[in-house]
Subunit: 338 residues, 6 copies
């Protein structure tokens, strides 16, 4: 198989990083992170459009696609400090959810087993099932924690008569044993879904789900501290699954199932940066960006920055930096640093 | 009169609850809440469009219209736990403000005197006059407090040569005696309106208006505590009048007179939930949603959730629950609850 | 030269204040503030459109253009309490950045040397160079501090082969000596720009740049206190340069280089009001509003309010008021005040 | 009464022509045409927004507002060759249709009786009743023909319980005798309204309505020839009432009741130009432009050009030109003309 | 199976006609036409969104949903003159194209075998396969002609590795024998698809495809005359399959694969009306309306009118009317008709 | 100079054709056509945004970027039958019109002198000056005709104090002698610009400008026949300069100076195809696509197709085909052709 490129447009890469081809291991040997697109929206219960997510996340920026994005607070240039390559999209046909899931799982497993961290650009949240399964196949079922940002628990049993779809991946992951329920952390849930029966099912698996009321009442940082401690307990790695709808729809309208009352963009970016810095991340997906519902590309831009914060946090972690969010931007720079 | 349905579209109900017909008392006998649409935008001083508010608030959702919306934090399903019915819209002609006001006042009074709580979907804020008057006719003039969320005081005297319009209802309510000035609480005011003369008039009636600077400086919860204490003092019930423009236009653009610097969606939803839980609510209106200016339906969705938070708070209050916003979502669920 | 009016539309003024003509000093004699439009977008590195900023900022409102805008929290009517006039736009051709810069610098200097405060409506941030230079020519090079709100440092050396553009004005200002590096305060920076070399250059000039991570970690008020102290030290005046992209793109999408993770609208408005009240402001620009990317005019409206907060803060400062953000709106009004 | 200006924005005039004030006859003495805005949308049966029509029609252009618009095909500069002044808007409150109708009728009558041609910028089509009545009061009831471009006949009897609204003006005009039914020409009707009873009423009044099927089958020019002959028969003048929805919604989306299958923009502009050239026009209205539903201002721009075609046709007619649509643009120009 | 209603929203019917339930034959006994929604967009090769087509086509109108829509040119009220009922949507999951096709085929066959004409609201063009197959199962394979309006031939063999999708239904129909190639008429093709091999395949099956160049060069009416003669030759009925993208994207932007250079809305409406009047229609689908890409609902409105033109043509045909497109609207109406 | 790629985004090529680098002649040796982007919008008098035109024109399509686009009516695959390569964008800084013009002129001349046909993707119409000059430098001043599609004559003398801008290129071309006035054909002019003086200047240079009234009155084909005869008289080649605003803004809203009443998309595509087939084209530009004002990419798609029609016409011309627009799509295909 030759490189597929972007499924619905020109063959571009995330900020212009080098392309790779999953069938040609040499093209991503020694890569730290392999980006791959999952342009699938056949699993959505309402508004589609996330098939255009990978393309939008890759290219939405006002800076040149020069494979360099130095983080101001972390003082790393993840795209240069890490070896990040982009495998293009996996071909996924909306009308065939079963084969699409298989295709992305295989791609993710191929990346993980090469030693690189897979970073998947969705697509709808259906892809979390193959994304996390692919990583778990490499690291061992039950050996990775998941931190899941979302307005929705995504733990439904059956929808539209099917076991698969964007409201169900987390249930399938626990059923298969890919992830332990008591290492499944959810942040940002809110609204009117799911029903009590499903919540009971979640409770019985010892999931830990931070609903927005709790986050507001106890403070986001407190909840994140707690979640990180759980995620690190007896696990070999952490998968971050980030549904852009965890952010308030007022700030991230370009998504399919917008639920008012979410985090601010700032809160999410700060938290993602911190998690990628403080946890041993082994896989990431950023999902549910639906460009047809976006305005002025602000949601695509946010998702682009979520990816960059992940990468920057990883790069700073590898360098062994200290976490100092309050450090002034210019402290210790210039002549002072010489 | 047979059921009118939605004035500008198909005959639908809020999340698929049962319809009722105001002329047929049997259809809403024993109802806890009767929803009614006030599709009137003839009173706006600037951008119209709120005539499509009731339709948008009723139908904007990504879940099926199955008359069930279980609240995650409150653990009630208001549409099931309460008897909520939807009377459709009152026919209101934009070009005739006088008769439109009369029509909605009569509808609200009919509902209130049946023992149900009227919940009015605006429409522009003109309708607060008949909404609150209709409730006061039942509970007694001066016997209900009002908590009014808005960027604007809506206490103008005369605009465009008329006593009625969306900038004036609160003045008319105090003039008529329907509500006591010292039981009229306003939250979220900001900007450059009204003038000093009007503010003096408000002060002379002992209104209590929380401008955003005060809310930021003192904290929203502190201000809400204080407002609740006043609202509960020597009153038989509380009317919640919620203008969606109290939220920052960045998060709620679909409104006619957007004033930057408002609450976040999260703050409003949290506060409304709490008020509906902690106060004896006897009437509600949610107004000023203007779909032509919305993007991706985010403002309509927010208003839909404001209504659900009201209903959920009422349902939890009736069940005698304790207010515990910091309770983990899954605490005491599943096997643990058995 | 007769009055030019708005370059791309009808001849209107900010909220209907009196027009003036820069070539006719009598028309702005004794003015406290002269507003002038800089409809230039030839310097942008990405999305253009700010040429329509002055027109949009002047006219976006839901109130009548009656030259009166009483501030609720500050209890001043800046447009009445100060003498504010509007000189219309300076003709600036996008294709000729050199002459455009000269034209606006001369206009600003003309205003400043008349004794009035120039308030420039951009346009892209290229205009900060002539805006601040024009003011510094009057007050003395090195004698004014700058408080600069922005997502970006705007201190690039050369872009597209040119020394001028919207990413470079602050470097040119320090190079020319118009402003001292250690009196240049930046608030709200974030993202992935500029590179380390440029940051070193900034550090070597002793600039003080508050990146969003620091602002979140230490608190906005703390950072503002610190910045104000620096700005007041051994300076004769302060210039406020406000790029609307300092606000999160979710709340201010109508701009050319949106960077997620910014301040809320509320935070910016509160801070600007406070700075204009507590600092001796000698010049202001509000830039980077790009109407083609706006939705429902919310960004233009925000910029309009930023200007009004500046003016209101100045008016309250002149009257010698005390800073009391927590004062209830109606306290001491009405009969109580008589 | 002093000049009111634009009801919902700055005081501007059509392409920068001189303002006038209806209460001050000297300001429009000897005017050929007086433009007046009717920013009323309280009469619409569906989407509102036409209140912003006058402002949009006046200012939507890419050329400077210099009171000059030379017509390429007609070789006149109507704004210079005729004396055209702009009276601003009549204050019309959407919530009060009766008084709004009276206000615009008086304004139009004032203009017509001054000897000038009133050209009304709507507003919804409700205003055709006072527009045409005001002209008929001056020229005599039954003495003017009407050529009415519209997708809809606007001959309903009662809607929403009222005699007035944007679907009813033409019925009221025939009932009052202001216009004879057999001198009422309609062009462009289509779709599914009104019902047979109303069509019978129209037939009984000998109206002549050209539905789009007939226009396509017989040819637009043939139908226009026929209509012009009727309009000229035993009448003293012709009123042109142009609803922008006569154009296909694909080309003119910014309107309230879009009916697919209309004229092209080109067809309407050509026809309006010809009618204004070949008929003795005594009044014009251009209505139903609803900016909230427009895209990139294309409908407002079209309406702006409809007005200019009217004025240009009138100017060429006064000069005694010959109708030569096939004349090459540059024929007889330059040296050849000297 | 109880009535499903609209898959993605409230249970509404086309213009308010009576609902029916396919599992309950009594609910559509004696129906002339049964409308059914096929909210499927899992087969699209590019932009999705047509799942919201049925809902949009049913409800987009500015008139009340009163089950009456009298056609001006045809003088019938199809919704009253015919018995038209609406079965709601068939549940179709985007991620499962095989089962979705089966579900709609069964629904269509159920309708056709009841003696009613199925009228399917798409959905993407994938559904033409089951739509036409369902009808052919009743009338006999090879016994119905198809007139297919589209920018694209939809005769691809395999796409994304699948036999089914919106670019392939016509090939499958000819392969199965449901329709004869020489009774398959296509109108409006254009652009750069398909390739020569596919065109050869089409030619070998004796399809007759009218590309836009031919339509412009020979005249639309001439081509339609010719196509009708073929369609009527040795066939028992005609299926009309209308892809809204046959209209120019400038007039119908709300579709997934817009190809510039199409018919005008007027041309399509006139042609559809004529075909439904002059041909024995046994089935209809109207597909590819994608609301997320629409503006001001103009494409949905156009599709709504396409359906009404079909129904009106059928109603006039049944009444035995003469085809007189040039008949004046009011000819023979009113007193003249008595 | 290495390949620059797209100035404002990823490095993509038109429909995926091979890239080339202007500094490396081997990369475009033997090319028939070299595409080059001119992302310049510093010359516009009103709405900017055309800097994003090249990127949008290159990538807007619903088909895969596979360097194949077989024309249905012409039966050529221009991207395969011709050698078409894409040089990426020339770096052009909006703020420096002089150097931008020089840069594109040099690029175009480099292409033309290599023996290939330059096809420039604008950018605003300023670039026609260097586009045509670059070609004329190769073929000889006065040796090429120009066919110019536009709503505007673009023959202004000075605007905003400058000789260059998007309203002036055609004047500069005649002044320099690059093109003879009597071989300058304009099609589609309309509206209210330029003034009589400029028209006289045009007439004195014997330009031939077809205004829309003439085109409607005489027929588009007649005018095109006439224009082609002039263009072919005593000239060595023809340059096609196509401003997308020649199409009606209703169908092509994404442009900066929209003038109602233009050609339909169909008319333009048909005419461009024919000209490219029947004339010896030596250069092309397609300009004034402004994505910020577009909707659902319909204008970008139209411009993409304009380019393809040019290329297809050239390819068919080279093959020596006969012009047969009325040929049925499938005539002579399939078995019939073997």
């Amino acid at each position: 198989m030759s490189r597929y490129g972007t499924m619905f447009g020109p063959d571009i890469t995330f900020h212009g990083v080098e392309p790779c081809t999953l069938d040609e291991p040499d093209t991503y040997r020694d890569a730290d992170v392999v980006i791959v697109g999952a342009p699938f929206d056949g699993g959505v219960s309402h508004r589609p459009g996330t098939r255009f997510g990978p393309q939008a996340i890759r290219s939405t920026d006002y800076l040149a696609p020069d494979a360099s994005r130095p983080s101001l607070p972390l003082r790393v240039d993840a795209l240069a400090d890490l070896r990040v390559v982009d495998a293009g999209d996996v071909e996924m046909f909306a009308g065939d959810i079963e084969n699409s899931i298989t295709a992305i799982e295989n791609a993710v497993y191929t990346i993980a087993s090469s030693g690189a961290i897979p970073l998947v650009l969705g697509g709808d949240h259906t892809v979390a099932l193959p994304d996390i399964t692919g990583v778990a196949r490499h690291h061992g079922f039950g050996r990775i924690s998941v931190v899941h940002f979302d307005a929705h628990a995504d733990t439904a049993h059956i929808e539209f008569g099917h076991l698969h779809g964007h409201g169900q991946p987390m249930r399938r992951l626990l059923e298969s044993g890919a992830v332990r329920g008591d290492r499944f952390l959810q942040m940002g849930l809110r609204g009117y879904w799911p029903d009590a029966e499903t919540l009971d099912w979640m409770a019985d698996r010892d999931m830990r789900s931070y609903e927005m009321s709790e986050i507001v009442a106890r403070g986001l940082d407190t909840c994140v501290d707690e979640a990180m401690a759980i995620a690190l307990d007896d696990c070999d790695g952490v998968f971050l699954s980030i549904d852009v709808d965890v952010v308030d729809p007022g700030m991230a309208p370009g998504t399919g199932t917008p639920e008012p009352g979410g985090l601010t963009s700032r809160q999410l970016l700060d938290t993602v940066r911190r998690l990628a810095f403080q946890l041993p991340v082994v896989g990431v997906d950023v999902v549910e960006v639906s460009p047809p519902y976006d305005h002025a590309d602000i949601t695509a831009m946010l998702a682009n920055r979520i990816v960059l914060e992940c990468l920057s946090g990883m790069a700073a972690r590898r360098r062994g930096d200290t976490w100092r969010p309050d450090r002034p931007l210019l402290e210790g720079r210039g002549r002072a640093a010489r």
